[in-house]
C-alpha cells in the first residue's frame, strides 16, 4: 500500500505516453479501466441528457396504457383533433408509466447516490482514519467502535437506519454511508500506520515538524491512491444497496424513478411482464460492473506492486 511513497529513480520512469504506440499499449494494459470508463461515460450521458432522450414525465400515470409490452404503440388523440403515435420502447408498468423514461431518469438517482456516498465515506473515513492512526489514545476507542459497526451486515444496518424516519434521498445516502465508513477508516489507518514508520517521516519528526504539518505533507498524500480505489468500490456497493433498499420498499419513495423502485413495482406481475424487472436490472448491472472495472483498473494502475500479484 505504500508503493507510491517511493520516488522512482530516474531510469525507472514509465515511458511517456506520447507516441501512438505508447497510447495503444497503455490502453491495452488498462483495458478493464477503459471499458469500465466508457460504459460509465455513457451512463452519465444518459443521466444528464435524460430530458432530451425522447422521454416523457417518468411519474406520469396513464390508466389507459397499463402493462404494455416493450415496443407497443398507441395512438393518442390530441385536443386539436390531430393524432400522435406514442411508442413504449420498454413497455409500461402497472400504473401505465413509461418504463423507458423511468429507467433513463433512474440513472440519475443511482449515480447521485453512488458518487455522494463515495465522497462522504471517503472524506469521513480519511479524517477518522488519520486521527486514529496517528493519535494512539484515540486509536483503541475508535477502532473498537468501527469493529462493532462492521459486525452489523451493511444491508441490515442500512435497513435499520432507513426504518428510523420516512426515507428520502438524504436518509438513504446517510444510511448507506454509515456502514461504509468503518471500511475506509480501516484502510486509511493501515496506510498511516505503515507510513509513520518510514525513515523520511522519522527524519521530518527529528527536524521538528509538528504533527498537523506531518499529517498534511507526508501522510495525507500517501492515502490518496488507495482511497481513490476504495472510493470506486464504495460507489459500486452504494449503487447496489440503494437499489436493494428501493426494491425491498424501504428506500426512496416509490414515485421517484429509481432502478430499484421500477423493479419493486414490477415484482407482482413479473411472470407476465418481465420487462419491468429486466430492463432496469440490465442498466443496474452494467453500471455497477463499469464502476467495478474502473476500480480494478485504477488499482492496477495506481498500485503496480499489487497488480503483479493479482
Amino acid at each position: 500500500m505504500k508503493a507510491v511513497a517511493e520516488p522512482p529513480i530516474a531510469t525507472d520512469f514509465p515511458p511517456a505516453v506520447t507516441t501512438r504506440l505508447g497510447v495503444a499499449r497503455h490502453l491495452r494494459r488498462h483495458r478493464s479501466m477503459v471499458i469500465g470508463g466508457a460504459i460509465l461515460v455513457l451512463i452519465v450521458a444518459i443521466a444528464v441528457l435524460a430530458p432530451v432522450l425522447g422521454t416523457v414525465n417518468p411519474a406520469q400515470i396513464d390508466p389507459v396504457a397499463r402493462n404494455r409490452r416493450p415496443g407497443a404503440e398507441r395512438t393518442v388523440r390530441n385536443a386539436d383533433g390531430t393524432e400522435t403515435i406514442v411508442k413504449y420502447r420498454m413497455g409500461t408498468d402497472s400504473l401505465g408509466r413509461d418504463v423507458y423514461s423511468r429507467v433513463v431518469y433512474g440513472a440519475r438517482v443511482s449515480l447521485i447516490v453512488g458518487v455522494t456516498v463515495a465522497l462522504i465515506s471517503a472524506a469521513a473515513g480519511l479524517v477518522i482514519g488519520i486521527l486514529a492512526g496517528y493519535l494512539r489514545w484515540l486509536d483503541n476507542v475508535v477502532m473498537r467502535v468501527m469493529d462493532g459497526l462492521m459486525s452489523i451486515p451493511a444491508i441490515l444496518l442500512a435497513i435499520g437506519l432507513v426504518s428510523l424516519s420516512r426515507a428520502g434521498l438524504r436518509t438513504v445516502i446517510l444510511a448507506i454511508v454509515i456502514p461504509e465508513v468503518p471500511r475506509v477508516v480501516r484502510l486509511v489507518r493501515s496506510v498511516v500506520l505503515s507510513i509513520r514508520e518510514e525513515p523520511y517521516v522519522e527524519a521530518a519528526v527529528a527536524l521538528g515538524a509538528r504533527t498537523p504539518m506531518l499529517l498534511v505533507r507526508h501522510v495525507l498524500p500517501n492515502t490518496v491512491a488507495p482511497l481513490i480505489v476504495q472510493a470506486t468500490f464504495v460507489c459500486a456497493s452504494a449503487i447496489i444497496v440503494e437499489a436493494i433498499l428501493s426494491f425491498l420498499g424501504v428506500g426512496i419513495p416509490p414515485e421517484t424513478p429509481t432502478w430499484g423502485n421500477i423493479m419493486a413495482e414490477g415484482r407482482a406481475l413479473f411472470r407476465l411482464f418481465p420487462h419491468n424487472i429486466l430492463f432496469p436490472g440490465i442498466f443496474l448491472a452494467a453500471t455497477v460492473l463499469a464502476v467495478n472495472m474502473l476500480g480494478d483498473g485504477l488499482r492496477d494502475m495506481l498500485d503496480p506492486r499489487l497488480a503483479k500479484g493479482v
Binding site: S32, R144, V145, D147, G148, L149, M150, S151, I152, P153, A154, I155, L156, L157, I159, G160, L161, V162, S163, L164, S165, A236, I240, A243, I244, F247, L248, G249, V250, M263, F270, R271, P274, I277, L278, G281, L284, A285, V288, L289, N292, M293, D296, G309, V310
Partner: protein, 313 residues
C-alpha cells in the same frame, strides 16, 4: 491454545457491546416517543404507558440500556406489536428456512469457488483464468435480486424445471424441500463464489511458486496431489478468512433472496418488520444476525491453528 481461545472470546465482548449500543440507539434516535412507536398506530394511551413503564423509559438513558440488555440476555426481545407475539418465538419460527438457505448456499459456494480459484491460478494467464476472473467481476456486479429474477424467468418459467417461488419445510418431505432451495441457493451463492474464487486464486498463486511445491513436483508427485496437499493446504488461511467475512454478504443476501423467492425466513421477517415499523423485531433480528456473524468469525480465527500448525498463540 486455551489461553488464546479465552482471550479471543473475550475480545468479542466489546464488539458485541458496540453492536448492542448501536441497535439500542436505533430506536432512541427516532424523533418522537419510543413507547408510542413500539406500541404502534392503533395503541391506546394505556398501552403506551404500560410499555413506557416496562422499558423504563422514564429513567435515565444508561439505566434504560441496562434494562434492555438485561432482557435481551435473558432472551426477552419484547413483544412484536405487528405479529402480536413474543419476538423470540417469532425468530424461532422463522429460523429453519434461513438456516436451510444459508447452509445450502455455503456448501454450494465453497464447493464451486475453491476448485474454480485453484484452476484459475494453476492455469494462470490462460483463457480459463481470464474467464474465471471475468465471471468473478460480473458476479460482484449483478445485484442478487437481478440474478434471482433472471433465474426464475429462465429456469422456472421458461424451462419449467423448478418451482418458481415458495418454501417447503424439511419435515414435509425432502424432495420438495430441496427442489425449492436450489434456485435461491444458486442466486445467493453467486456473489459469494465470486468473492471466494478471487481470494483462492490470489492465495494459491502465492504458494504455487514456493520451493516446497517445486520439490513436491521434482520428486514426481502428480499435479493433483501437489495442488491438494501442498498448495491448497498452505493457501487455506486467507480462503477461510474470506469465507468468514463473506458471511456478512450472505446475511445481506438472505434478506433480499427471501423476498424474491417468498421464503418465510428471518430475512423476510426483517423486511416485513421494517415496513410495519415493528422496532422490537427489527432490533432483535439485527442483533441476532450480527451475533451470528461475530461468532462465525470467532470460529474462523480458531481454525487457523488447525489449518496451519505453525501458527502458535
Amino acid at each position: 491454545m486455551l489461553g488464546y481461545i479465552v482471550r479471543r472470546f473475550l475480545a468479542t465482548i466489546p464488539v458485541m457491546a458496540v453492536v448492542a449500543v448501536v441497535v439500542f440507539m436505533l430506536l432512541r434516535l427516532t424523533t418522537g416517543d419510543p413507547a408510542a412507536i413500539i406500541a404502534g398506530d392503533n395503541a391506546t394511551s394505556q398501552d403506551v404507558a404500560a410499555i413506557r413503564t416496562k422499558l423504563g423509559l422514564d429513567r435515565p438513558i444508561a439505566q434504560q440500556f441496562i434494562i434492555w440488555i438485561g432482557n435481551v440476555l435473558r432472551g426477552d426481545f419484547g413483544e412484536s406489536f405487528f405479529f402480536k407475539k413474543q419476538v423470540a418465538d417469532l425468530i424461532v419460527e422463522r429460523f429453519e428456512p434461513t438456516l436451510a438457505l444459508a447452509t445450502c448456499t455455503l456448501v454450494l459456494a465453497v464447493s464451486t469457488a475453491v476448485p474454480l480459484g485453484v484452476l484459475a491460478a494453476w492455469r494462470r494467464g490462460t483463457w480459463i483464468d481470464r474467464a474465471v476472473m471475468g465471471l468473478s467481476v460480473l458476479g460482484f456486479s449483478v445485484p442478487v435480486f437481478v440474478i434471482g429474477y433472471v433465474l426464475i424467468y429462465l429456469v422456472a418459467i421458461q424451462l419449467g424445471w423448478l418451482p418458481v417461488q415458495g418454501y417447503q419445510r424439511l419435515a414435509e418431505g425432502f424432495p420438495g424441500f430441496i427442489e425449492r432451495l436450489i434456485l435461491p441457493s444458486v442466486t445467493l451463492a453467486i456473489i459469494y463464489i465470486a468473492l471466494i474464487a478471487r481470494i483462492t486464486r490470489t492465495s494459491v498463486l502465492e504458494v504455487l511458486n514456493a520451493d516446497h511445491v517445486r520439490t513436491a513436483r521434482a520428486k514426481g508427485l502428480g499435479e493433483f496431489p501437489v495442488l491438494l496437499r501442498h498448495v491448497l493446504r498452505n493457501a487455506a488461511v486467507p480462503i477461510v478468512t474470506v469465507i468468514g467475512l463473506g458471511i456478512a454478504l450472505l446475511i445481506g443476501g438472505v434478506v433480499v433472496t427471501e423476498s424474491v423467492y417468498a421464503i418465510p425466513g428471518l430475512g423476510r421477517l426483517t423486511v416485513d418488520a421494517v415496513l410495519a415499523r415493528d422496532y422490537p423485531t427489527v432490533q432483535a433480528v439485527i442483533l441476532l444476525f450480527s451475533a451470528v456473524y461475530v461468532l462465525i468469525n470467532l470460529l474462523v480465527d480458531l481454525t487457523y491453528a488447525f489449518l496451519d500448525p505453525r501458527i502458535r498463540y
